[in-house]
Subunit: 321 residues, 2 copies
C-alpha cells in the first residue's frame, strides 16, 4: 500500500478524497486542509509517495521523505517550479481531453468575437446605433499562436477549419499540418509581424515572463484587416504587462483583447482593465479542470508508476514546462 | 445578345455593372438608378431578359415584356414574393459558399458566446466582479436549428464538431448526419421542448411570420444546463415578435438572445431591445453578400440558361421559399 497526499491549496479536498480513494482502493489517500495543516500524524504524512498538488507550501517537502513523484493538478506547472525546496523528482502535468476541448472552445469563441467585430458592435448597441462595418473574411486574417503544445495544436486545427490563416511560434521548430511555423528568438519578430490575432498559450517560465509588453504589441501587424492587432491570452497572467495592455487598448496599439489570466488573481478591483470595453475579461475559466474527471486521470498515473511504467506527460524541468 | 437588368434598390450599381459586364462580354448589362429610375430608353429596358434584383419596385415588371428569369441577390426571396405584380417566371436565389461560411461563423460565434456564458461574464466585468460560474459542457447543451436548408445543414455540421448535441426542425422530414430530426407542425412542440439554444434560419413566409413569440419561447426547455433557453435569429426579422422578445429577456422566459434581423430595419432608436444586456444585436450582417463574389455567381446563372440548362437554386413559389 502506497500513500497519496492531496495538497490542493484553497480547494476543498473532500470530494477529491472520496473520488480518488474509490479509484485507488488498495492505496491510502490523505489530504491537507485548505490552510495547509494536516489533521493526522507526521508519521502518516512521512509515508507519502505521491503528492497531488496545486500550489503546495514550500515547507511541505521536508516532511515527505519517501516522496516518489509529484502530480500537478493543472496543465501549467509554474506553481511547482517556483518552489526553491522542490525535490528533484518526476513531475507530471495533467493532460485532460476535456481541458483541451474547453481551451479550443475559448480560443475559437474569442477569435470569432474579434473577427466578427463583436466589441465594435456591442459599443454600437450601447449607443443605440445601427451601422454595418467592413467585415474581412477569416481567410484574410492571420491568427498567430504562441505555444504549440497540446492546447496550441488543437486550437490551430479548429481555427484552420473556421477559415483563418494560422501561424505558430514555438521555442523549438514544430511541424503542424496547415500551420505556418516560426520558432526561437530569431523568428519571433517575423512571426509577430505576420500576426493579426495573437493567441498566447505559453507556459510561465523565466524566459516568457512579462513578454506580452508594449514592445511586443508594437511588432504585431498594425495595418491588418481588423484595423489593428488583437491579443488573446489564455496562458498565464505573469506573461503580461497589464499596464502596457491597458495603455495599448487605449492608445490603439492593440485594437482589442481577451484576457482569461492575470498577474494577480482575482484581478484587483482597482485594476484599470475592468473598464475597457475593447477588452473581454473572463476569470480564469477558459479551461477549468472538471473535479469529476481529474481524480480518474491522477489515479491512472499512480497505477502506471506502481506497475513500473513511466509517468505520462512528464515535465522538462530544464525547459521550465 | 441578351439584356441583363440590375435593380438593386439602395445599392450603388456602378461596381456591379462593371463587374457583371466583364463576366458577360457578349451580353448587354444595364442598371436602374438607386431611386428606381432608368437613364436609358424604354425600348432598351423592354429588351431585358434577366432581372438581377434586390427589392425591385412593383411597377417595374410591366416594363419588362421579354423577361425570362429573376435572379435574387440574396438567399431570401421574400423581397420578391411579396410583390403582387410578380410575373410567373423562374426565380433563383443566390447560394454563395461565402455567404454560407459567414452564416456558419455567426451561428458558431453566438452559440459559443451563450454556451460560455458571455453575457453573464460581460455583466460581471462591468460590475468589476471576479466570479467563476458553473460551466456546462457543449455535449450537455442542445442546439435546435429551425430550417435545414443549405445554411442550417452547414451550421449543424460545425456545431456538432464543436461538441454540441444538435437537433433540427424542418417543414418536411430531412435526414442530416448527426442531427436529431423533427419535422412539421406535429413535431414542433417536441422539438422546442428538446432545445436549449434555438437557432432560427427559417425563410419569411405566411406560415413562419411572427412564430418567434412568447408562446413558442414558453415551449423551449426551461430547466436546461444554461439556466434558461437562448434564441438566435439570423433568418428574417418578420418571424419575430419583438415586444415578446423584450418581455421574455426581462422576465426570464429567455435567458439570452442574439438577433441579426429585425421586423423593421434599421431597428428604430426607440426600440427597447437596444438596452437589453442579455441581447446581442448585430445590424443584419451575419451573412453579407460580398460584392466581389455575387456578379460571378449571377453571370454563371445567365450562362447556364443561355446554354439551355436549368437555373440552379430555383425557388418553390408554392412553398414560399
Amino acid at each position: 500500500m502506497t500513500t497519496v497526499l492531496l495538497s490542493l491549496a484553497v480547494w476543498n479536498p473532500a470530494r477529491w478524497l472520496t473520488s480518488l480513494q474509490e479509484r485507488l482502493p488498495d492505496e491510502k489517500v490523505i489530504a491537507l486542509e485548505p490552510d495547509g495543516s494536516f489533521a493526522g500524524t507526521d508519521a502518516e504524512l512521512a509515508e507519502t509517495e505521491y503528492l497531488v498538488a496545486w500550489k503546495p507550501q514550500a515547507e511541505l517537502f521536508a516532511r515527505l521523505p519517501k516522496l516518489k513523484a509529484i502530480l500537478s493538478v493543472g496543465a501549467g506547472v509554474d506553481h511547482l517550479l517556483d518552489i526553491p525546496t522542490l525535490p528533484d523528482l518526476p513531475i507530471a502535468r495533467i493532460v485532460d481531453p476535456d481541458l483541451t476541448n474547453r481551451m479550443v472552445e475559448y480560443v475559437a469563441w474569442q477569435a470569432l468575437h474579434h473577427l466578427r467585430l463583436g466589441p465594435s458592435y456591442q459599443a454600437l448597441q450601447r449607443a443605440g446605433q445601427w451601422r454595418a462595418l467592413p467585415q474581412p473574411a477569416a481567410r484574410e486574417v492571420t491568427v498567430g499562436i504562441m505555444g504549440l503544445g497540446v492546447l496550441g495544436i488543437a486550437s490551430a486545427e479548429l481555427l484552420i477549419q473556421l477559415g483563418f490563416r494560422v501561424t505558430g511560434w514555438s521555442r523549438r521548430a514544430k511541424d503542424v499540418a496547415g500551420v505556418v511555423g516560426y520558432h526561437g528568438d530569431g523568428q519571433l519578430r517575423a512571426f509577430l509581424g505576420d500576426t493579426d490575432i495573437l493567441v498566447c498559450l505559453l507556459p510561465d517560465t523565466p524566459k516568457t515572463r512579462g513578454m506580452l509588453s508594449a514592445k511586443l504589441f508594437g511588432q504585431l501587424r498594425q495595418d491588418g484587416p481588423l484595423g489593428g492587432p488583437i491579443l488573446i491570452n489564455a496562458g498565464r497572467g505573469r506573461l503580461q504587462n497589464e499596464a502596457d495592455i491597458a495603455a495599448a487598448l487605449t492608445n490603439g496599439l492593440l485594437r482589442g483583447a481577451s484576457l482569461d489570466v492575470f498577474a494577480e488573481e482575482p484581478l484587483p478591483a482597482s485594476s484599470p482593465l475592468w473598464k475597457l470595453d475593447n477588452l473581454f475579461i473572463t476569470p480564469h475559466v477558459a479551461s477549468v479542470s472538471d473535479p469529476a474527471v481529474l481524480p480518474r486521470l491522477i489515479a491512472r498515473q499512480v497505477k502506471r508508476m506502481e506497475a513500473g511504467e513511466e509517468l505520462q506527460y512528464l515535465v522538462d524541468r530544464s525547459a521550465g514546462y
